[in-house]
């Protein structure tokens, strides 16, 4: 085994905020003494914009493309290869100041509340009630609420929470809007008991969510859909825009 380089960042979770010092150690391990012509550290922040394969002229999600890496290089003599080690870290925006206030929302879903229905008469009757504890969410806290199937003629197949990220990019010719499902969590499986509240609970995925962002040229927003699947093949969706923040 030859010489190896390793970067150890002090914070186990590798999360830093603007203005903070990123510190740690570079560990060089080898059997004998190591000759080198200098060690260097480089920090890189990249935004890798990829063109979408789906629609011409639209960028694939912004979010995933932002990446911070710390690189350590060891330059060595001609006979030995230079050594490199990279380590990714995460930059969180500075927590917002001020008090967070919950914004609860109640909802009722019946055939009558639905839009986009072709033949309302063919729909089975149902009544689903519920509430979200807040549509404005602290990103580190789960989305919570409750849902009650008060009645439903058709058997329920599944109830899911769909977290969607909406990215809007505006420019002179108009704007491009791209919605991506980033997480889908099933909260009910099968024909659940009527009249019994089912918890709504979803942890925001750390790598796929960020605080809601709104600038003149582009926006990153989040929404949650409550998706109810009924037998034999009905799909009911209720949409709730979310506002994510970091406290």
């Amino acid at each position: 085994m030859g010489t190896t380089l390793d970067i150890k960042i002090k914070r186990a979770n590798k999360v830093y905020h603007a203005g903070e010092m990123l510190s740690g150690v570079v560990v060089i391990s080898g059997k004998d003494s190591v000759q080198h012509q200098g060690l260097s550290l480089t920090v890189e922040g990249t935004v890798n914009l990829q063109l979408s394969a789906k629609s011409v002229g639209v960028f694939e999600a912004f979010y995933n493309s932002v990446k911070y890496t710390l690189r350590c290089d060891m330059r060595r003599s001609l006979l030995a290869k230079d050594l490199t080690k990279t380590c990714e870290f995460i930059v969180h925006s500075t927590p917002q100041k001020g008090k967070w206030t919950p914004s609860p929302v109640d909802f009722t879903i019946t055939p009558d509340t639905l839009q986009n229905v072709k033949e309302r008469a063919l729909l089975p009757k149902f009544l689903i009630r519920g509430h979200l504890n807040s549509t404005s969410c602290v990103i580190t806290q789960p989305l919570t609420g409750e849902l009650v199937v008060e009645s439903s003629e058709a058997a329920i197949k599944s109830i899911e929470l769909q977290l969607v990220r909406v990215e809007t990019c505006g420019c002179a010719e108009g704007y491009a809007r791209d919605a991506t499902e980033i997480q889908n969590i099933q909260i009910a499986d099968g024909d659940v008991c009527r009249g019994l509240s089912i918890p709504i609970y979803m942890v925001f995925p750390r790598l796929f969510t960020c605080p809601t962002l709104e600038t003149t040229n582009f926006k990153v927003e989040f929404e949650v859909n409550i998706v109810v699947l009924l037998h034999p093949d009905h799909l009911i969706t209720e949409n709730f825009p979310l506002k994510l923040c970091r406290m």
Binding site: N13, V192, C193, L196, I198, Y201
Partner: protein
């Protein structure tokens, strides 16, 4: 508070075991399902391993990894694939998954491990073969347990650095950041699992890991997971999920009762779903009837109920019961209440329960299971005195109407305990009669041996008095139902064990004797060439125990004829024959005692009959030393009863048997040299021979001579001095024989001392014999004059010297000279222990001071001590 918690955690075990038992009883129901053998198998596992903490079914087969990869690649297709498998394949497959989980973990493929666990838990949302669900649950939660343990141990190990180990009761502050981060990562990964059921199970499996993150983690997590179960639509899947959660909860945080209670009450809220359309449609589709579907709930419900009711205050139990009652006296709930709640609680309300059981809807949950559950409680706790008979009547009224023999016997078995405990032989007899009536048609008993056996055990456990037991008219007819030999023997063994344990007084009760002789005969007749030694020993022990307890008092002839009968019955078990010989010998001695040594004509004839019994029985034994010792022993008994010629016959038989003693004998399965046993026997024999009077028609000391010839001709081990040791003993005997009056006598038997009265011819014969024997000894000592044998020569010489000293007349010059020579011989090669020599010399000097022992002073002077140089 802390201490209280700790105590509860400590006492949790018994309740788990109990629950496992209930689980098994739940299975009994299920055994009627088409998939019964497999179901049985899983529940047995469930039972034996207490929810399978470390259960592993099969060892990993080669090529498993590749098959597993295939399995994972198939992803969704694989689930469909599984349905076409047989149940055994399914078990194997799941076990393979378990193994590959461990392998993946060991090879640091944590993500793969997680995928496998998710894949497995997904199987729990599948109810396509619904009878299989409880078994599947057991198998899969085992994998989950493995996973939970692996994750916990991994994170725990991250908290350990070179210097310190995390204590068992650590707090989150002691956990380092890396470990916390890893732990958080697991929870984040699990939180993003798409499907509800895998997400629930995997998170529950690592519930314990919350301890690394925060003190309140578990107490926040448990209620959330409890609520999460509400999202599971299928009531069967849901109740098993609750059972798992309760189990994990009890294990990790037994003090958090709230979640347990919530699981119970949530379950009641969803209870109506069982009779809902979705479930009914599914049952129709799968062709499963309600009475076989509902019992599938029992193991999980029992578990949940059990967790909640464990150490629960009376008020909570009452509330639980009231809530169950509100749901229309549902049989399923009632059954779980009876399975899980404290027996005392149930027993005190027996009449209420009987009322509720009667009101239950006949179509759903089988009623006999309810009576069975009630019976189980009544076996453990007593109902109020005044209700007892009515309870039995009410219960039996239902039980006796059960058509299916299996249902019937499962129920009856349980109620026998209650009946035996509180009622007399009359009621027990009625019940036994009823069981016989139900189980005889179509030989139904053949399928129910375990239950029937259990009934017998319960009955004999309560009726220790065998005269009462056998006066239960139906007891023996009941035994006749055990027609399979192995079972019958088992039952007989149980009966005899109880008899031996509890019978205090010897008995001659003809009912007991007849019945038990029959029982013992059954045991004896089961012995064949293939019977194991241990089994034979056990059977012989039991039969002997019985023989020892039989006594006809002063009716000795009756006693002897019993022994004769017993001999003809138990001829295949050697230890029994040995016991019989001892018993008969004892009988002869008893007779002698009664007659105070003076036999009448009648008793003399009787005693001779006893002696004859022994004489003809001994040759049928196989063990050579058994025969030798019994010949000697019986000879002594014959002698004591003045049967001189019979005694001679015994001793002659013994003598003629000696040449047959093999060099090696089998003792407890090991081959051992027989010489030491032979030496022991012969010494014993010599002591007896001292008092045996010579036969008038044979020569002087004919028995001793014959024995000496046999010893002479016996092929002794090479390089062994046993023969010489025996000869030394013979010298002791001859010395004792030449005394004017012998050391001991048998009452009313004239030994040689009074026969010959110190006749010189007799003494001369005796002396001649002595000389021959001594010549033999000296000859042998000479042969030992070789380097490697010098030590033996020295010690033999010394022992011979000691013999002469103790038994010889040292005033005799030749003997005196011989002893001096032996003394020198012993010391010649420096092999002897000087201290022994010093002690011996001191002893001689001391003896010389005794009257008439002056000649020893002179001897002592001639015995120099070798100084060690």
């Amino acid at each position: 508070m802390q201490g209280h918690t700790g105590l509860e955690a400590g006492t949790e075990k018994p309740s788990r075991t109990l629950a496992a038992v209930f689980c098994l009883s739940g299975f009994c129901v299920a055994s009627r399902l088409p998939s019964s053998p497999f179901f049985c198998f899983c529940f047995c596992l469930c039972f034996s391993a207490e929810w399978l903490p470390g259960f592993s079914l099969l060892t990993a087969a080669d090529g498993m990894v590749s098959r597993l990869t295939w399995y994972i690649c198939q992803d969704k297709g694989s689930q469909k694939e599984l349905l076409n498998l047989t149940q055994q394949d399914y078990v194997n497959r799941i076990e393979e998954l378990n193994q590959s989980l461990k392998d993946a973990w060991a090879s640091d493929q944590k993500v793969k491990a997680l995928k496998i666990v998710i894949q497995c838990s997904k199987l729990l949302s599948d109810t396509s073969v619904i009878q299989f669900y409880p078994s599947k649950f057991v198998l899969i939660t085992d994998i989950l347990d493995t996973f939970g343990k692996l994750v916990y141990e991994r994170i725990f190990s991250m908290c350990v650095d070179n210097r310190s180990v995390l204590p068992d009761h650590f707090s989150p502050e002691n956990v380092n950041d890396t470990a916390k981060e890893t732990c958080l990562n697991w929870f984040f990964k699990i939180a993003s699992i798409r499907e509800l059921i895998p997400r629930f199970y995997v998170e529950a499996s690592i519930l314990k890991c919350n301890k690394f993150l925060s003190k309140t983690g578990i107490s926040e997590c448990l209620p959330r997971l409890t609520c999460m179960v509400r999202g599971i639509g299928d009531p069967l899947v849901s109740v098993y999920a609750r059972a798992y959660l309760c189990r994990v909860g009890m294990e990790v945080a037994p003090h958090l009762k709230e979640s347990l209670n919530k699981n119970f009450f949530d379950f009641l809220l969803t209870f109506k779903q069982i009779h809902g359309d979705t479930v009914q449609n599914q049952l129709v589709l799968q062709g499963v009837e309600l009475p076989s579907y509902l019992p599938l709930y029992s193991p999980a419900m029992d578990w949940v109920f059990q967790c909640v009711s464990y150490h629960a205050p009376e008020a909570l139990l009452t509330e639980m019961m009231e809530r169950c009652k509100k749901l229309g006296n549902n049989a399923l709930l009632l059954n779980s209440v009876m399975s899980a709640f404290r027996a005392e609680f149930i027993a005190a309300r027996s009449m209420d329960f009987i009322g509720m059981i009667k009101e239950c809807d006949e179509s759903g949950f089988p009623k006999h299971l309810l009576f069975r559950s009630l019976g189980l409680n009544l076996a453990l706790a007593d109902p109020p005195e005044s209700d007892r008979l009515q309870i039995l009547n009410e219960a039996w009224k239902v039980i006796t109407k059960l058509k299916n023999p299996q249902d019937y016997i499962n129920c009856a078995e349980v109620w026998v305990e209650y009946t035996c405990k509180h009622f007399t032989k009359r009621e027990v007899n009625t019940i036994l009669a009823d069981v016989i009536k139900h189980m005889t048609p179509d030989r139904a008993f053949e399928d129910s041996y375990p239950q029937l056996q259990s009934i017998i055990k319960k009955v004999i456990a309560h009726f220790h008095d065998f005269s009462v037991l056998f006066s239960v008219e139906k007891f023996l007819p009941f035994l006749d139902m055990f027609q399979k030999e192995s079972v019958r023997v088992e039952v007989c063994k149980c009966i005899m064990e109880v008899f031996i344990k509890h019978q205090q007084e010897p008995t001659k009760d003809p009912v007991i004797l007849n019945a038990l002789l029959h029982v013992c005969k059954t045991m004896h007749d089961s012995v064949n060439a293939l019977t194991l030694e241990d089994e034979k020993r056990m059977l012989a022990y039991l039969i002997n125990g019985f023989i020892k307890m039989v006594s006809f008092g002063r009716d000795f002839e009756q006693q002897l004829s019993f022994y004769v009968e017993a001999r003809s019955m138990f001829c295949n078990l050697e230890p029994v024959l040995v016991q019989l010989i001892h018993s008969v010998n004892r009988l002869a001695m008893e007779t002698r005692k009664v007659m105070k040594g003076n036999h009448s004509r009648k008793t003399a004839a009787f005693v001779r009959a006893c002696v004859a019994y022994c004489f003809i029985t001994i040759p049928s034994l196989a063990g050579i030393f058994t025969r030798l010792n019994l010949y000697l022993h019986s000879g002594q008994v014959a002698l004591a009863n003045q049967c001189l010629s019979q005694a001679d016959a015994f001793f002659k038989a013994a003598i003629s048997l000696v040449p047959e003693v093999p060099k090696m004998i089998n003792i407890d399965g090991k081959m051992r040299p027989s010489e030491s046993f032979l030496l022991e026997f012969l010494c014993n024999f010599f002591s007896t021979l001292l008092i045996v009077p010579d036969h008038p028609e044979h020569g002087v000391l004919f028995l001793v001579r014959e024995l000496l010839n046999v010893i002479q001709d016996y092929t002794w081990e090479e390089n062994s001095d046993e023969k010489i040791r025996i000869y030394t003993c013979v010298l002791h005997l001859l010395s004792a024989m030449s005394q004017e009056t012998y050391l001991y006598h048998v009452d009313k038997v004239d030994s040689n001392d009074s026969l010959y009265g110190g006749d010189s011819k007799f003494l001369a014969e005796n002396n001649k014999l002595c000389e021959t024997v001594m010549a033999q000894i000296l000859e042998h000592l000479k042969t030992l004059a070789k380097d490697e044998a010098l030590k033996r020569q020295s010690s033999l010489g010394l022992s011979f010297f000691n013999s002469i000293l103790a038994h010889g007349d040292l005033r005799n010059n030749r003997l005196n000279q011989l002893s001096v020579n032996l003394w020198h011989l012993a010391q010649r090669h420096g092999c002897v222990d000087t201290r022994t020599m010093v002690k011996t010399l001191e002893y001689i000097k001391k003896q010389s001071k005794q009257p008439d022992m002056g000649h020893l002073t002179e001897l002592a002077l001639r015995l120099p001590l070798q100084t060690r140089t």
